[in-house]
């Protein structure tokens, strides 16, 4: 579903944020991406989502090259940044319809999906209010709903658990699993190692822009915990 081949990103000034990263996410997989602050997680996710330009390597999503066919790649992807800023001059329902229009989602399908996810995240009643009046958690939920109603082949999430209450986190995890059962894939970064360990089929650990370890969660963790593995690889233990 997602193929990252020899991807590197150098910022103006010469700082190499990501160096020769190769990583594959297969359909039906939940793939966790962990690393310390500034390791290159967000840079990688943004490049995959087509939000950030890059010069070295190739990234393909469901067969669409992010550089050569960006619109095709974006059509099958949904991306959620760590702190999703949404148009404050719009109402919640206007934003969802705006996104649905950009993705050409038919009227009946969007009505059904907005109702389903809106009710699940307890946000339907608030959809008539301007986004400017939403709390951080409500914005996070709205952004999640806008991602789920696209029925993406690949869902890219940057720190999705930040700002969500435990109930919403639980619901989100359920929907992520549903999405994968339908043949889609999820690629997300997190600092919550316990969640990554329980939720992910595969995990990749990145350090200073380089992939230091990746593989199925059980193999990677072995008899210890993900926290131990992570701290050992980071050299903190």
């Amino acid at each position: 579903m997602l193929r990252i081949e020899h991807y590197s990103k150098t910022y103006p000034g010469g700082k190499k944020a990501v160096d020769d990263l190769t990583l594959h996410v297969r359909p039906g997989e939940i793939y966790g991406f962990i690393g310390h602050n500034g390791a290159g997680k967000t840079t990688t996710l943004r490049a995959c989502a087509g939000v950030m330009d890059f010069t070295e390597g190739t990234i393909t999503i469901d067969g669409h090259d992010v550089k050569k066919d960006p619109v095709g790649a974006k059509r099958v992807t949904a991306f959620l940044p760590d702190n999703p800023d949404l148009y404050e001059f719009m109402k919640g329902i206007d934003y969802l319809n705006f996104i649905a229009d950009l993705y050409d989602i038919p009227a009946d399908q969007r009505t059904k999906d907005i109702a389903k996810y809106g009710d699940a995240f307890e946000l339907t009643g608030n959809l008539g209010s301007p986004i400017g009046s939403y709390s951080h958690g409500m914005r996070q939920k709205l952004a999640l709903i806008s991602a789920f109603i696209r029925r993406p082949r690949l869902l890219i999430l940057d720190e999705p658990f930040v700002g969500l209450d435990p109930s919403a986190s639980h619901i989100m995890k359920g929907y992520l699993a549903d999405l994968c059962r339908g043949g889609s894939a999820v690629f997300f970064s997190t600092h919550v190692l316990e969640v990554a360990e329980k939720l992910c089929h595969q995990i990749a650990i990145i350090k200073d822009g380089r992939l230091v370890k990746c593989g199925p969660t059980e193999q990677l963790v072995g008899d210890s915990s993900l926290e131990d593995v992570f701290l050992e690889l980071e050299g903190d233990k």
Binding site: G50, Y87, N97, F98, A100, R110, T124
Partner: protein, 530 residues
């Protein structure tokens, strides 16, 4: 005081850097910021100098110079209110750094005073641009010698520094009201737009009647001055500048006391005010019904429209040119008899068509809708970047939105002016062709400078719409092009009758084509690189 100046320095620095693009080193940013301010200063000095000259020409011979300062004082007060009331909402009450600064060991009164002082500096600049040309005109044209002493300039400087205090106090009060309405009223933007529409209607009424008022002034200047007793502080200021120290002190007190009351009064409840204005609670009574679908382009255009009409700061700063254009067209049609009589007095040889084109072009130059549209995306740019829409489609939709508003207004105003001025069908056609070409060039150029000088990290939309470099260039470069068109028309007229309109048309066509070509070739890469 050390803390106050540190906070003030931050506000002033952010104001200076606000007109620059997001990239480049701080020295370059400060230089381009200063350049933009010089450009605005030049325009302010020119416009107030022009009106002061018109008034002084009539009033100096009857020794009523004070009326010039009264009118300019009222103008500075009204203009300052117009420019800073909405800025107060963003800068004083809606700063992004509110949480950070309020959590610091700094008194809320001091924090508010530092931000209000930044607004004061903006008003001070405006007050200077309006009163200084009036003083210079007075010194050159007075027949009673009032402008020739150093003390006159000393009194003028006191007035220049005092007037913005009153302006700032009123701006803060109105700004607080606007912030309150935005937070508490569900259709806050509509309310603000109605208030601004009433304000603009008053300004237009005043502008359209200015000539008649100036003619009437000479006959009854004293009566006019007496009728302005409702603006007593302005009368004191004018008489004070002209020599009455007592009235000047009374005026200064009239400015200092409200400013101090506002700063210390609101400063005491600043934390509560910021909290109340920020706390908009979402309603929980929405019932989901069947939704309808529309296409990508329609959705993107609707989003641009929602932002434009739903953001009073954007609408009134970038749409004012179109409102002026329509007002001028309709007023010319309604008052065509008076207009033709007035033009008849000036002679038959007036080049009405190019004059009308210049007026329309001037109004259109102020319609900088595309120029700030990229910067206004700011923190929301990720939404468009991750959407399955090509960069060129995004660019053309933003450019097209400006054209969607400007071309119909141009056609309506052009037809009104052509009828009112009695232009022949050929001249009317040329007028429409020239102004529509100008529309195309202006929109494409605005988009280009918006991409080249983005301000994606602006604290609020006020900074983008009022002070960004892209907006300044998007307004003043087309004005310079208009000047070039006038020059080409004059030069062409010396060659042949057809060359006069042809040369400006060629210039506008080349500019429109060049900007469009650069947008097609480089635009997507420029957008991607942001």
């Amino acid at each position: 005081m050390k803390k106050f100046f540190a906070l003030l320095k931050v506000s002033v620095k952010s104001m200076l850097l606000s007109s620059t693009n997001s990239r480049g080193n701080s020295r370059k940013k400060a230089a381009t910021g200063a350049g933009a301010m010089v450009l605005i200063a030049f325009l302010g000095l020119y416009m107030s100098g022009f009106y002061s000259f018109m008034l002084m020409e009539v009033l100096a011979p009857i020794h009523m110079e004070s009326l010039v300062f009264i009118f300019m004082g009222i103008g500075a007060l009204a203009g300052g209110l117009l420019f800073t009331t909405f800025a107060v909402k963003g800068v004083v009450f809606g700063g992004k750094d509110n949480d950070l600064l309020l959590s610091m060991p700094v008194g809320s009164t001091m924090l508010m005073a530092s931000r209000v002082s930044a607004i004061y500096l903006e008003n001070l600049l405006f007050s200077f641009f309006v009163l200084a040309p009036a003083g210079a005109v007075c010194a050159f044209m007075t027949q009673s010698g009032v402008g020739h002493s150093l003390l006159f300039w000393a009194r003028l400087i006191i007035a220049v520094f005092a007037l913005p205090l009153l302006d700032t106090a009123l701006s803060v009060l109105f700004g607080a009201l606007v912030a309150f309405l935005s937070a508490k009223v569900s259709r806050g933007a509509l309310g603000q737009n109605i208030v601004m529409a009433l304000y603009m209607a008053a300004v237009f009424w005043f502008a359209f009647n200015l000539n008649g008022m100036i003619e009437g002034l000479a006959a009854n200047a004293m009566g006019v001055k007496e009728s302005l007793s409702w603006a007593a502080p302005m009368l004191w200021m004018a008489d004070g500048i002209l020599g009455d120290w007592g009235l000047l002190l009374a005026f200064a007190a009239c400015c200092i006391v409200p400013f101090a009351l506002v700063v210390f009064g609101l400063g005491k409840v600043y934390r509560q005010a910021v909290t109340a204005f920020a706390a908009r609670s979402a309603r929980n009574d929405y019932k989901l019904s069947a939704q309808s679908a529309s296409g990508q382009k329609k959705a993107l255009l609707a989003k641009e429209a929602k932002r434009f009409f739903g953001t009073p700061m954007y609408f009134w700063n970038s749409g004012i040119g179109l409102i002026m254009l329509l007002a001028a067209g309709v007023a010319a049609l309604v008052m065509q008899r008076e207009l033709r009589m007035y033009l008849g007095l000036l002679g038959d040889a007036l080049p009405l068509m190019p004059m009308a084109a210049l007026v329309m072009g001037f109004c259109l130059s102020m319609c900088a809708i595309a120029a700030p549209s990229i910067s206004l995306e700011g923190k929301y740019l990720w939404i468009l970047r991750e959407a399955p829409v090509g960069e060129s489609a995004l660019i053309w939709i933003k450019t097209g939105f400006q054209l969607l508003l400007s071309v119909p207004c141009t056609v309506v105003a052009g037809v009104c002016l052509a009828v009112a001025l009695g232009l022949s069908p050929a001249e009317g056609g040329l007028l429409l062709l020239a102004t529509v070409l100008f529309d195309l060039a202006h929109a494409a150029f605005g988009m280009l400078v918006g991409l080249a000088f983005p301000k994606l990290d602006a604290v609020n939309e006020t900074v983008v719409v009022k002070q960004s470099l892209a907006v300044c260039l998007g307004m003043f470069v087309p004005m310079a092009v208009l000047g070039l068109c006038a020059l080409l028309y004059w030069l062409g007229g010396m060659l042949s009758a057809w060359a006069a309109p042809a040369l400006p048309l060629v210039l506008l066509s080349v500019m429109a084509a060049a900007c469009a070509l650069i947008l097609v070739k480089k635009g997507p890469a420029m957008l991607r690189a942001l």
